[in-house]
Assembly symmetry: C2
Homo-oligomer: 389 residues x 2
């Protein structure tokens, strides 16, 4: 009994998969599964559906349900790819839209079929492309950030010069440098890009300067194009601040063709609780990679944040696990790293990593010494680790 | 000892305030505070700052620190408005960017001075404007959603007709209707807008149709303009899926001049844990209001989600508390509401609310009966609640 007309939905039968981890008892977990199947698709009582195939096609389908060793449960759910279409926001909505509001559900992994993979650009450069651009082979790439907020564009450009001279491969803006009255975008990018280009030429280096284009929605592309025009070698974006889809746009842009570093600012709410949010490996690894990041920044274990070794290992896994023809991207651990920790970092990550040290380079009293030590430490350790490349 | 040049930052002295709730012991809370002050601004060791005033101006400042009755602590922090500038993503970054990655910190409230308030449009319509547009005075507004995903545009248009005939004030797309192969945007919006316009004319009603413009970054404004052109009376956006700044853009757009409903999809990670994320009142109330929503949708207490009565009360507070000259907006509780719950909803919210019932309208077997009962229930209860308007 309903006034809704009989409906036959045309779908291809191609489906995508999402794995959810569920808290609570088996009974509670099964209730959560039913919520997922319905909330992420029809948001409508099954009982009131019209005759036809909406339930068989549009509604999520439970493919597997199992108890995990820790007592939690896990559900593998499939959705018609047509539920999401070829749009990232709607894909994220199906995966974790309404369900983000339900405690006890964590999105663990996804498997996307070709129609969805084809709508995500993946990294334009990836590990190999970034190595080629920086001519850095068989060792970790070295990165640092221009900061603190408050320095003039000239002072930042001078810093960038020291960084390039000392052998830094990637000089990025601190993600707190936007276009504030105390940190104007155009002047900063112009001066720093010029300094990096000059110093690259003088020293025979190939450092990339990646300015921060995290900006209002009507400004992200404007700044990215301006950055390119002013000589930037890459871009930095915090996708949770701009919307994830801007990462896709930047990566796919044929006029830009620049590597993109993804920054986790404002993304932490997805990551700070074991029973909710999105798994580290998926969010910071696989998703950032699929959406188009060439390297993903995150707070390393033992820094000022709270990522555990296993979280970092899982992120690395997400950056490099086989994923159709999507190339691996670089993990870029940072967040309070110090020079003393470089040997440990290389031991942990091997050479397929971008090491990001910011303030720690100033610890020796002279930033040029800091950079030099950073380089020596990273290179000596990684040359010992033969067979890694 | 550092190579950084002495730096004097020019700032106005105008500051904005953020109140954070902190988990753990007093000592742990004080460590969290120091992280906040530094992480959200310079991200740089204080000890290595150059001579000058960066520490006094750019770094966050602890204004108050106190123990809460529940044993947690609370810190009131101020920042120079210039740290954020006039850009919403950078404002969110200062308030909760890196700190989102630190467990135990919850952003509770903010106070913005004029330079920041002036950069946020606030609601163009608010409660009063929405009442004027729908000619609905002295009672709750009635809203429902077009769904389920899978219905044809024609079926959705027929549904919309029934809704308007029965007295629904706001007919919105389900936020799961985007531009998928099974739910094309243009055809749906054209047909539904036409149906709503016809039925408004025929019945002397003033219902608004609010299509979902949650879309890829390069499509949000395109769809909003198309929606306007096709006769939409408002817009629906899930800001966490698109980036919050698109809410600002839609609200501020002079060509659009349409009410905007904010939907919480993908926003839940901020809300599901008491010790992290952003307080309900701030995120769903004050922030959505400042950024430009005219009504904010959220899962009501006792529905399919888990908001508690106090969470809902706090959201209402955020929608209406004095806030410079920013008008109050409507709370729009939904999420599994049924007709039986209407009296309780009106008792809880009074008449300054948009009641959102979706699937529940189909429970009587005929959606036209469901709408009629929805209307009678909402009106009879609210006419008893005299003095509310």
């Amino acid at each position: 009994v309903t006034v809704l007309p009989a409906t036959e939905v045309e779908v291809s039968g191609i489906r995508f998969l999402a794995r959810y981890r569920l808290a609570g008892s088996e009974e509670e977990a099964r209730l959560l599964v039913e919520q997922i199947l319905v909330e992420e698709t029809i948001e409508f009582p099954r009982a009131y559906l019209p005759p036809g195939n909406i339930e068989a096609t549009v509604v999520g389908r439970l493919e597997e349900f199992r108890r995990l060793p820790d007592g939690r449960h896990e559900a593998l759910v499939s959705y018609a790819w047509e539920d999401a279409g070829r749009e990232l926001p709607q894909l994220l909505n199906v995966l974790f839209g309404n369900v983000s509001l339900i405690p006890g559900v964590r999105l663990e992994d996804i498997v996307l079929p070709q129609p969805l993979m084809g709508s995500l650009p993946g990294p334009r450069f990836g590990r190999e492309g970034l190595r080629r651009r920086t001519e850095a082979y068989g060792r970790p790439l070295l990165a640092t950030a221009l900061k603190p907020l408050g320095l003039t564009a000239t002072a930042l450009a001078d810093l960038a010069r020291d960084f390039v001279r000392g052998g830094i491969d990637i000089v990025k803006d601190d993600h707190g440098l936007a276009d504030q009255p105390i940190a104007r975008f155009r002047e900063r990018v112009a001066r720093v890009a010029e300094a990096v280009a000059e110093e690259n030429l003088r020293q025979g280096r190939h450092a990339l300067y990646c300015p921060n284009v995290t900006a209002p929605a009507d400004e992200v592309l404007v700044r990215a194009e301006l950055a390119k025009e002013l000589g930037a070698g890459g871009l930095l974006l915090a996708p949770a601040l701009t919307g994830f889809d801007f990462l896709r746009l930047l990566a796919a842009d044929e006029r830009l063709q620049l590597p993109v570093l993804a920054h986790p600012a404002f993304m932490g709410a997805f990551l700070t609780h074991a029973d909710s949010g999105i798994a580290h490996r998926l969010l910071l690894g696989k998703l950032m990679r699929l959406i188009g990041a060439d390297a993903v920044i995150y707070p390393n274990l033992g820094g000022r944040f709270s990522f555990r070794p296993e979280d970092c290992r899982e992120i690395v896994r997400g950056t490099e696990e086989p994923l159709a023809d999507v190339p691996p991207i670089f993990p870029m651990p940072g967040g309070g790293m110090t020079l003393e920790r470089v040997p440990g970092l290389v031991a942990f990550y091997g050479s397929d990593v971008v090491l990001l040290i910011g303030g720690g380079l100033f610890a020796t009293g002279d930033v040029r010494d800091g950079v030099e030590r950073f380089r020596q430490l990273a290179l000596s350790v990684s040359s010992e680790a033969t067979g890694k490349e």
